[in-house]
Amino acid sequence: MEPLWQDESARRGLHEDELVIDIAGFEGPLDLLLHLARSQRVDLSRISVLALAEQYIAFVERARSIRIELAADYLVMAAWLAYLKSRLLIPQQAKDEGPSGEELASALAYRLKRLEAMRDAATKLVNRNRLGRDIFVRGAPEHILTERKSEYEASLYDLLTAYATLRQREAITQVTIERRHVWSLGDARLILARMVGSLDDWTALDHFLIRYMTSPQERATAIASSFAASLEMVREGQLEIRQEGAFTPIYLRRGPNPIDAATLAEMEAARG
């Protein structure tokens, strides 16, 4: 069997400490989660999601403690898992309409299984007998078929590449590049929407936010943007907000006019 990806063996043999260093080797939080789940060495449908969440959070904390720069995705996932953990640990309240911790956990397990299934499929695919490596075509074809009506040949890919290159060439002279070091309101709003959408109880969500989402340099912009975004969301009735006094934790919960799934999907789409 051909090794599917070169870094595989190196990666899978890593110890946990090395994992921290090798964060760049993972393709996003789900990849890391799947790796951690596999290390539980059980059928994916029987993994302990709680243990998994704890491992992941511990992992992220360790990475942060040695100041490894973590992409925002990893931190969003950490915040979400912390939330999931609390849902799993605290018994469901009677009038709570949101998804239960178990439902959230099984959704996560489903996604891990699906990703693993696709990885296996990819492995099987690449190890099939392949044309040009195991199977060969007629080396000296005697004619070229022209089944098409046109005597000209071009693929849609050629066409689109030509067009994109052309438009790019035309536009590129006016390029100005700016790097964004701030959280935009849109970013903050989407992150809040994802995390608080189903929160029934007062939750010190800014605590999660600041703890997991931001590197020290980004803290100010994160707080400013999420605060501004949360005010906007309160105005629209999507959120309720509470603070006991100056500098005390800010609590959030779902407002009377919560964001529904469709709106959230729209927001995700808009962020593209």
């Binding site: 599917l4 990806w5 870094d7 393709e27 996003g28 939080p29 990849d31 992409a71 925002a72 995705d73 969003v76 996932m77 979400w80 949101g98 959230l104 959704a107 996560l108 489903y110 996604r111 299984k113 699906r114 990703l115 299934a117 696709m118 990885r119 499929a121 990819a122 099987k124 695919l125 690449v126 099939r128 007998n129 392949r130 044309l131 040009g132 195991d134 199977i135 060969f136 075509v137 007629r138 080396g139 005697e142 004619h143 070229i144 078929l145 849609l156 890919y157 689109l160 590129i172 002279t173 390029v175 790097r179 992150i191 959408g197 189903s198 799934a261 469709a262 789409a269 962020r271 593209g272």
Partner: protein, 242 residues
């Protein structure tokens, strides 16, 4: 006719209607020969309709090809079906002898391979769905590589808000991986049965998916004016047109 009569006694099963029967097999064999010549002469898979167009009107192409396929079954060269096309290919078990020097199979990155598998098993599939499954953004160029290889194509558009473009695989993909049709993908039935291909996570159970446009994997530097000049992109354009 007279000739056919003469030959008849020699045939193993000399039945009464042998006269008709002796013509039909000859025509059938002739159809097989034509189909064989057509497909054998081409390196690319040949469509069944193309073959049909070259056979006597009314010939059952399907059965001609089936007979031809079984005729080649044990040979060093096999007749294989690729979607509704046919091609001759060397037998897989002989790969060790046929190794040619110039053979070069595209080496795909792990990400590209994963995306390819997802497109193959989930098609038609949108980019957002691919990213939902992988939990990461598809880096630019991954889809590009697959399209350039000729394995992935734009299929159409989803009839949903925003009409997102959908992706699917091509006939070249089937040909390359030795598949007759998409249903032959390894394990696809089991995956379907397990609900891993159709099942959507209810959107209320949203798990965070990466936000757009931050390209962490992107280690390119911004293009500078000087780069552009180096690349010849800013030289004045004359009337280049061929």
């Amino acid at each position: 006719m007279a000739e056919a009569q003469k030959i008849l006694p020699v045939l193993p099963d000399g039945e009464d209607d042998a006269e008709e029967a002796s013509v039909a097999p000859r025509l059938e064999r002739e159809a097989e020969r034509i189909a064989e010549a057509l497909v054998f002469a081409s390196a690319q898979p040949v469509s069944e309709t193309y073959i049909a167009g070259r056979l006597p009107r009314g010939t059952d192409v399907g059965s001609v090809m089936a007979r031809l396929k079984s005729r080649y079954a044990g040979s060093g060269v096999n007749l294989v079906q690729v979607a509704d096309h046919w091609a001759f290919r060397t037998a897989a078990d002989l790969s060790f002898v046929v190794q040619t020097e110039e053979q070069e199979v595209r080496k795909l990155s792990r990400a590209a391979l994963e995306v390819l598998a997802i497109i193959a098993y989930h098609q038609p599939v949108t980019r957002a769905e691919i990213e939902d499954i992988r939990g990461v953004q598809t880096s630019k160029g991954t889809l590009d590589v697959l399209m350039e290889a000729g394995w992935v194509r734009f299929r159409g558009r989803r009839r949903s808000p925003g009409r997102p473009v959908t992706f699917g695989t091509t006939r070249d993909f089937l040909d390359h991986f030795g598949l007759e049709e998409i249903r032959d993908l390894p394990g696809i039935e089991e995956l379907k049965g397990a609900g891993l291909l159709s099942g959507r996570v209810p959107s209320s159970l949203n798990i965070p998916v990466p936000v757009g446009e931050d390209e962490f994997s992107d280690n390119e530097d911004p293009i500078t004016q000087m780069d552009l000049e180096e690349l010849g992109l800013l030289t004045p354009k004359a009337e280049e047109d061929d």
